[in-house]
C-alpha cells in the first residue's frame, strides 16, 4: 500500500533524516520493539536535557492596513455564485484578504441565505493548485506558455474578421448583452453568442412558454400557493431550474404549521432526490413521461371543475385529440385519481428534469403548460407575469451553433466545457475543425482546452466582476472578494483589450466600469437621482437589488406537439449528478467525497439497476457491466438501487474526465456521455435503448453506508401520519424525562441543542460540504473511503423501507449527538473527551492519544479518527498541493492519531458569546448558527439554547414529533440507550391521505 511507504514509522520518528525507500525498509526490518524502545528512550533523555523551544513563529503586519480590516476579525463580501446558472447571492467570509468560507446571502430573496454543495465548494476551486498560471498558445501539437502581451499581439492580427462566435455557459446578467456588444463591434451578428447549459430544462421550459404565450420566460414557481405538487420526472430538488430557491420554497410549503402542507406526488422511472422526498411515488417506465403527462392532461380535461378559459380549452382539446395514449390500467387509475385531486386543491404540476432529456423533452414542457392551465396553476403557483425566472440560455443556441460553426474563423469558448459536457455523438471536435482559432478562456483547465489554439486563464468568479438577474427585477451583484491568485484576467476585460488592439474599442475602461454604467439604470429606477456613488456602494455591500417588474399575460397560442414513441426494453438515463453537476464540480475533492445521497458512493461512477432487474440478470453489486448503445460502449460497476423501474439503467454524469488536467479527476469514474445520442441538435441523455453484458470483473464501489435497512429498530428514524400529528399536536414532550441513576448534570448558562426536521430534509448534502469547509475536515480519497475512513463530521444516512419496488426513502443527517450521558466520555482514559457544562461533548485534540475507545463506544458512529496526518497535500496516494490558505483559521487542524467529531461549530458559539458579552447582553435566539444550519436550503436544522424557554429549539424539542435517535419509545416507557442526546430529531410526516403508517 503506498500510504504505508509514505507514512512509515521511520519517516515520522526520524523526521529530519528523510529516509530513502531502502532505509525505510531496513528500519522496519531491523528494529525489534525492544531495540526501538531502547534507542528511543535514550533519545528522549537527550531531548529533555537540552533546552529546546519550538520553532519561532513570525508575525507579519500590513504595511498599510486597510481601514476595514482588523486582523483576526472576518470581513464578509456579498457577491454572486456562478457555479451554475441559478445565480444565488453569496456572502464570502474572508480573513486577512483570503476567502475562507462561502455562505448564502440572507438578503437574496429567493435563496434566503442557503447555498448548495457546488456553490460552497467553489472555495476549493478558487485555491485549486491546478489552475493555469499563465496563457498558452498552440504551436503544432503542443500548447506553449506565453505572456499576456504576446497573446494580445498574437490575437490582434487574427481578429480582423467578422466571422467570430462566442460559446459560453448560461448567464442571466448583463454579461450576455456585453458579449453581444463585443460581437457587434467586430461586425459579427449578435446571434453569434451561443449559450449552452447541460441542464436543458431551462431552454425547454422557456421555449414551451415562447410557443404557448409568446414569452421566452420560465415561470416562477411558488409552492406555498399549492397544496398538491405533482412531478412527472421532475427534479426540482436535484438540479431543476433553481435548486436552492426551489428547495427553500418547497420547505416552506411543507411546513406542518400550515393548515394543508403541500403534498408531493412524483411519477418517475429513476430514483431522484425529488422522488425520494415524495409523499407518493409512482414508478413509470423510462421514456413514458410524455405519455403520462398526456394521460394526465386528458384526465384533467375530462374533469368538470377543470380550469382554463373557453379558448384555452379548445386549443388543449385539439392537442389532446392528436395524441391518444394507452397506459397500463393501474397507472391510468392512479392518474385519474390524481386528476380529481388536482382540480380540487390548489396545485401545480412540474414536468421534466435531467432524468428525462429524451426525444420528447421539449414536447413534455408544452403538455405541462396545458396541464397547469387545466389545474389553474398559472398566476397562482406559477407566475409568468411577476417575478418570472430569466432563462440563462437562448432557445436554439446549440442548433444555431451547429449550423453556423462551419463559417466561423474565430471561436471564443468562455467558462464552458462543450467537449466534455456534450455527448461524443454531437461531434464538437469535428464541428470546430475548420475554425481557425479556438480561444478557450477558463478559470480551470477543461477538456475543451485540448482543441484550442489559445488557452487563456480567466478569473474564478470569486475574483471577478459581474451580475445576475435570476428572476425578473431581482438582481445580484458580483464583486471580487480576493486579489487574483494566479496571472489570470477577467474574461470580459480580455475581450475589451482585444477590441482596443484591433482599433475597434468599446467606450469602457474595463468590465467593471461597464457594469457601473448599467447599474446606473437601477439607480434611475430606485434612487433619488443623486449620489450614484452611494447607491453603488450600498448595492455592492448588500449584494442584491430588487425592483418591481411586471408583464401582461398573453393569449394562449395553439400547441404544436410531436411525440416520438420510445421502444420498450432496458433504457439508459444519464442524469446530471447532484454534486458534480455536469462535471464542473468534479475537480473539487470535497464534492467527490460527500458522496451521492442515494447510493452513498463517493469518488466513482456507478450503474444503477432496479433490484429485480439485477436479480433477473444474476448480477450483484460491484459487478462490472458493459453498456452498449447505438453510440458506443461503456463499462461501470453495478449498484442495485431500490425504487427504479425495471427497465431503467442509470449512470450519473460528472466523472470520467480523461484529459489529465487534474489529479483529483484522474482515473475517477466514467463519462456516460460517450454512449449518449444527439437528436435535432440537442443531446439525448435519457431513455436510450441499451444492452447490458456482464464482463465477469468486479470493482469495489466506495459506498459509505454499509447498511441500508433499519432492521427492527424503530427509534432511528420515526414517522407518523398527518392525522396522527393533528390529533396529538398540542401534546408536549419532555425528552429529558428519562429515569436513570446518573447524578444530576451540572448546569451552565446555556445548554446547546440542535434539532433536525426529517420531514424537511431533502438530502442535498449541503450540510456536509458546509461542515467540511467550516471545520477544516480533510478529504481522504477513494481508497480510504472504501476502508470506511472518511472524516465527515456530519454524514447523511439514507434508509430504504417498505417494498424494494416502491421504497420509502428517509434521509437522516447524523452528527455527534452531544449525549448528556455520553458513552464515549466514560471510556476515554485520558479525559480527552469530557462533558461541557453547556451540554457539549467536548473533544480536546491535544489530550487525545488515539486509543479509539470512544469511537468504539459511540452508538451513533460519528467519531472520526485521523489515520494519517492529512497534510492538505495528499489525497489517496496522489500528491496534491491543496492550498492550506483555504483553511478556517478559527479551527484547530488535527493531526494523525487524533479523534475528532462535530462540536456544534464551537468557534461560532464562542464568537456569538463574545459578541453578546461585548454588547453587554445575553445571546439571542437565532444569533448563533452552526455551519450546517446556516446553509441548509430546506431549513431543516435548528440550533439554540435549550435553557431558553422561548427559543425555537426548545419548542422543537417539546414538539410531539420530537424524538432522540436510539432513544427507544418513551410512550411505552422504553428509553432505548438512555444516552440523552442534545440533538433531537423531528419525525417525518407522511402527507399521504390513505393508509396511515406505523408510528414508532
Amino acid at each position: 500500500m503506498p500510504q504505508n511507504q509514505r507514512y512509515s514509522l521511520a519517516d515520522d520518528v526520524c523526521a529530519d533524516v528523510a529516509a530513502s525507500p531502502e532505509t525505510e525498509k531496513n528500519t522496519k526490518a531491523a528494529l525489534g520493539r525492544r531495540d526501538f524502545l531502547k534507542y528511543f528512550s535514550a533519545g528522549v533523555a537527550l531531548a529533555s536535557s537540552s533546552c529546546v523551544r519550538r520553532p519561532a513563529e513570525h508575525a507579519i503586519p500590513y504595511v498599510d492596513q486597510p481601514v476595514d480590516q482588523v486582523p483576526g476579525v472576518a470581513t464578509y463580501y456579498a457577491t454572486t455564485c456562478s457555479g451554475c446558472a441559478s445565480g444565488c447571492g453569496i456572502n464570502v467570509k474572508t480573513r486577512a484578504g483570503r476567502p475562507v468560507k462561502i455562505e448564502g446571502n440572507p438578503d437574496h430573496r429567493s435563496t434566503g441565505g442557503a447555498l448548495c454543495p457546488l456553490g460552497q465548494a467553489a472555495l476549493q476551486g478558487l485555491y485549486h493548485p491546478e489552475r493555469r498560471p499563465q496563457p498558452l498558445v498552440r504551436r503544432g501539437d503542443q500548447l506553449g506558455e506565453v505572456s499576456w502581451d504576446d497573446v494580445y499581439l498574437h490575437l490582434s492580427s487574427r481578429l480582423n474578421t467578422n466571422k467570430v462566435g462566442i460559446f459560453t455557459g448560461g448567464t442571466t446578467g448583463h454579461r450576455a448583452e456585453f458579449l453581444q456588444e463585443f460581437l457587434q463591434k467586430l461586425g459579427a451578428p449578435r446571434e453569434n453568442l451561443y449559450r449552452y447549459e447541460p441542464n436543458l430544462l431551462y431552454a425547454h421550459v422557456a421555449d414551451a412558454h415562447q410557443r404557448a404565450f409568446g414569452r421566452y420566460v420560465i415561470p416562477r414557481c411558488d409552492f406555498t400557493a399549492a397544496e398538491l405538487i405533482v412531478g412527472i420526472g421532475s427534479d426540482f430538488l436535484d438540479q431543476g431550474l433553481a435548486r436552492v430557491a426551489y428547495a427553500k420554497n418547497f420547505s416552506a410549503a411543507r411546513d406542518l404549521n400550515r393548515e394543508h402542507p403541500a403534498q408531493l406526488v412524483q411519477l418517475e422511472s429513476t430514483l431522484s432526490l425529488t422522488g425520494a422526498r415524495a409523499d407518493e411515488r409512482i414508478v413509470i417506465a423510462p421514456g413514458t413521461e410524455i405519455d403520462v403527462a398526456l394521460a394526465l392532461a386528458q384526465a384533467l380535461y375530462r374533469q368538470p371543475q377543470a380550469q382554463g378559459g373557453v379558448a384555452e380549452r379548445q386549443k388543449i382539446a385539439a392537442l389532446l385529440q392528436q395524441h391518444q395514449v394507452a397506459l397500463a390500467p393501474d397507472l391510468q387509475q392512479h392518474i385519474a385519481t390524481l386528476a380529481v385531486q388536482l382540480v380540487q386543491k390548489p396545485s401545480v404540476v412540474l414536468c421534466g428534469g435531467s432524468h428525462t432529456f429524451d426525444a420528447n423533452a421539449a414536447a413534455l414542457q408544452q403538455i405541462a403548460i396545458a396541464i397547469n392551465i387545466l389545474c389553474g396553476a398559472y398566476e397562482n403557483a406559477l407566475s409568468v407575469q411577476r417575478g418570472w425566472q430569466i432563462p440563462p440560455v437562448g432557445s436554439d443556441d446549440l442548433q444555431r451553433f451547429s449550423r453556423d460553426v462551419a463559417q466561423l474563423d474565430v471561436l471564443f469558448v468562455i467558462d464552458s466545457d462543450p467537449l466534455f459536457t456534450l455527448p461524443a455523438a454531437f461531434g464538437w471536435a469535428e464541428k470546430i475543425k475548420n475554425v481557425k482559432h479556438v480561444i478557450s478562456m477558463q478559470a480551470f483547465p477543461v477538456a475543451t482546452d485540448s482543441l484550442a489554439t489559445h488557452v487563456l486563464p480567466v478569473h474564478h468568479f470569486l475574483e471577478a466582476w459581474g451580475d445576475a438577474q435570476t428572476h425578473a427585477g431581482q438582481w445580484t451583484t458580483q464583486q471580487p472578494v480576493v486579489r487574483p491568485l494566479t496571472d489570470s484576467r477577467q474574461a470580459e476585460d480580455v475581450l475589451l483589450w482585444l477590441l482596443a488592439t484591433v482599433k475597434k474599442p468599446l467606450p469602457y475602461a474595463d468590465y467593471r466600469s461597464y457594469l457601473r454604467q448599467r447599474w446606473q439604470a437601477w439607480h434611475d429606477l430606485q434612487g433619488d437621482g443623486k449620489d450614484f456613488a452611494k447607491f453603488y456602494h450600498t448595492t455592492l455591500t448588500r449584494g442584491t437589488f430588487t425592483h418591481q417588474k411586471q408583464q401582461a399575460r398573453r393569449e394562449l397560442r395553439a400547441f404544436e406537439v410531436k411525440v416520438q414513441q420510445v421502444p420498450a426494453g432496458l433504457k439508459l438515463t444519464a442524469p446530471l449528478d447532484n454534486r458534480l453537476h455536469d462535471g464542473r464540480g468534479a475537480h473539487l475533492p470535497v464534492l467527490q467525497e460527500v458522496g451521492d445521497s442515494l447510493t452513498t458512493i463517493a469518488w466513482d461512477t456507478w450503474v444503477a439497476l432496479s433490484i429485480k432487474t439485477a436479480a433477473r440478470l444474476g448480477l450483484r453489486r460491484n459487478d462490472v457491466l458493459q453498456l452498449k448503445t447505438a453510440s458506443g460502449v461503456l463499462r461501470a460497476a453495478l449498484f442495485p438501487l431500490p425504487g427504479l423501474h425495471d427497465d431503467a439503467v442509470v449512470v450519473p454524469r460528472g466523472n470520467g474526465h480523461r484529459h489529465g488536467f487534474s489529479k483529483v479527476t484522474d482515473g475517477i469514474g466514467v463519462d456516460p456521455l460517450v454512449v449518449c445520442a444527439v437528436a435535432e441538435g440537442l443531446p439525448l441523455t435519457a431513455a436510450l435503448p441499451v444492452t447490458l453484458t456482464r464482463t465477469g470483473k468486479t470493482y469495489r464501489l466506495a459506498a459509505m453506508q454499509k447498511e441500508n435497512k433499519l432492521g427492527d429498530r424503530g427509534d432511528i428514524v420515526k414517522s407518523l401520519s398527518l392525522a396522527q400529528l393533528r390529533q396529538h399536536q398540542n401534546k408536549v414532550r419532555d425528552l429529558d424525562a428519562v429515569p436513570d441513576l446518573y447524578p444530576k448534570l451540572e448546569e451552565g448558562e446555556h445548554r446547546w441543542g440542535l434539532s433536525v426536521d426529517l420531514h424537511k430534509c431533502i438530502g442535498c448534502s449541503a450540510c456536509m460540504v458546509a461542515c467540511a469547509q467550516e471545520n477544516n475536515v480533510p478529504q481522504v480519497g477513494r481508497s480510504q473511503v472504501a476502508m470506511g475512513r472518511e472524516m465527515h463530521w456530519i454524514r447523511l444516512d439514507r434508509y430504504f423501507s417498505g417494498d424494494a419496488d416502491k421504497p420509502r426513502v428517509t434521509m437522516q443527517p447524523m452528527m455527534c449527538q452531544q449525549c448528556n450521558h455520553a458513552p464515549c466520555e466514560a471510556v476515554c482514559p485520558v479525559y480527552a473527551t469530557t462533558h461541557d457544562a453547556e451540554g457539549i461533548n467536548a473533544m480536546t485534540y491535544n489530550r487525545c492519544v488515539g486509543t479509539r475507545y470512544c469511537a468504539n463506544a459511540c452508538p451513533y458512529k460519528v467519531r472520526r479518527f485521523n489515520w494519517w496526518t492529512h497534510k492538505w497535500n495528499v489525497i489517496d496516494a496522489k500528491d496534491y498541493n491543496r492550498n492550506p490558505r483555504a483553511l478556517n483559521p478559527d479551527v484547530t487542524v488535527r493531526t494523525r492519531g487524533v479523534m475528532e467529531k462535530c462540536n456544534f461549530c464551537y468557534q461560532r458559539i464562542r464568537d456569538g458569546k463574545h459578541q453578546a458579552k461585548m454588547a453587554g447582553r445575553a445571546v439571542q435566539d437565532g444569533e448563533i448558527k452552526t455551519a450546517c444550519q446556516e446553509t441548509c436550503p430546506a431549513d431543516a436544522i435548528t440550533f439554540g439554547n435549550l435553557l431558553d424557554a422561548g427559543s425555537k429549539i426548545t419548542q422543537q424539542r417539546r414538539d410531539y414529533r420530537a424524538y432522540l435517535a436510539l432513544g427507544g419509545y418513551p410512550d411505552i416507557k422504553e428509553y432505548g440507550l438512555k444516552t440523552l442526546p442534545n440533538v433531537s430529531y423531528l419525525a417525518e410526516v407522511t402527507l399521504q391521505e390513505e393508509g396511515s403508517d406505523e408510528h414508532g
Binding site: D12, V13, C14, A15, D16, V17, N26, T27, A29, A30, L31, D35, F36, Y39, F40, A42, G43, V44, L46, A47, S48, S50, C51, V52, R53, R54, A56, E57, H58, A59, I60, P61, Y62, V63, D64, Q65, V70, P71, G72, V73, T834, D836, A837, E838, I840, A842, T844, Y845, N846, R847, D890, V891, T892, N903, Y906, Q907, R910, H914, K917, M918
Partner: protein, 181 residues
C-alpha cells in the same frame, strides 16, 4: 531466501540506525511534545529586525498600548502595528536614526517587516484579547511590565496551569472547550 537477505541487512544496519535514531529523536521529540509543558520559555527574547523599545514609547512618551496594538479591543489578536501606524509619527519624529530609516525604507518599498512572535501559544489554543480586555485584565498581568522593557521579553510562562490558575481565581470558565476547539 528473501527473508535471509532481510535478516542480514537488518543486522548490518542496526548500529547505523541506532545512531540515526539517537540524534534524530530530539528533533522528533521537539515536534511531538511541544515543550510548553516542561519548558516555560520565561525570559524568551528573540532577536527582532529592529531593537524596538517599549520603554521609550510607552513609559517615556506615554503612548497607550492600544494605540499600536489596536486589535486588542476588537479582535482575538492584539496585532503588531502596521507600518503606517509607525510612520504616522516617524514621518516627523527621529527620522535621522538608523532604525527609523530602516522602517521608512520598508514603508517606501511597500515591504512588511517580519517580527518574531514573543508570546506564542500553541496552535491548539484559542485565546481572545478582546474578551480578556473586557474582563478588565490589564496587559501587564500576562505580558509583564512591558513599559519597562527594551526589546519585548516573555515574562509569564503562558502554560495551561498558569492560565487555569487565573481562571480559577477570577471564577472564569475552566471547561476544556473554553480554549481548545
Amino acid at each position: 531466501m528473501a527473508f535471509k537477505i532481510c535478516l542480514w541487512l537488518s543486522l548490518r544496519c542496526q548500529l547505523c540506525i541506532a545512531v540515526v535514531l539517537f540524534f534524530a529523536e530530539p528533533a522528533a521529540a521537539w515536534w511531538m511534545w511541544t515543550p510548553g509543558d516542561t519548558v516555560d520559555n520565561v525570559g524568551y527574547k528573540p532577536k527582532q529586525p529592529i531593537a524596538f523599545s517599549h520603554q521609550l514609547h510607552s513609559e517615556e512618551h506615554k503612548i497607550q498600548c492600544e494605540y499600536c496594538h489596536a486589535g486588542a479591543r476588537r479582535s482575538p489578536v492584539a496585532g503588531i502595528p502596521p507600518l503606517n501606524t509607525c510612520m504616522g509619527c516617524h514621518k516627523f519624529v527621529a527620522t535621522a536614526k538608523d532604525p527609523i530609516k530602516f522602517i521608512a525604507a520598508r514603508y517606501q518599498a511597500n515591504q512588511p517587516i517580519k517580527w518574531t512572535k514573543v508570546h506564542d501559544l500553541p496552535d491548539f489554543v484559542r485565546f481572545s484579547h478582546q474578551v480578556h480586555g473586557l474582563a478588565k485584565i490589564s496587559c501587564q498581568e500576562c505580558h509583564g511590565k512591558v513599559e519597562k522593557m527594551g526589546v519585548a521579553v516573555q515574562k509569564a510562562p503562558l502554560q495551561m496551569g498558569w492560565c487555569v490558575d487565573c481562571h480559577r481565581q477570577k471564577k472564569a470558565s475552566i471547561a476544556c472547550l473554553t480554549c481548545h476547539y
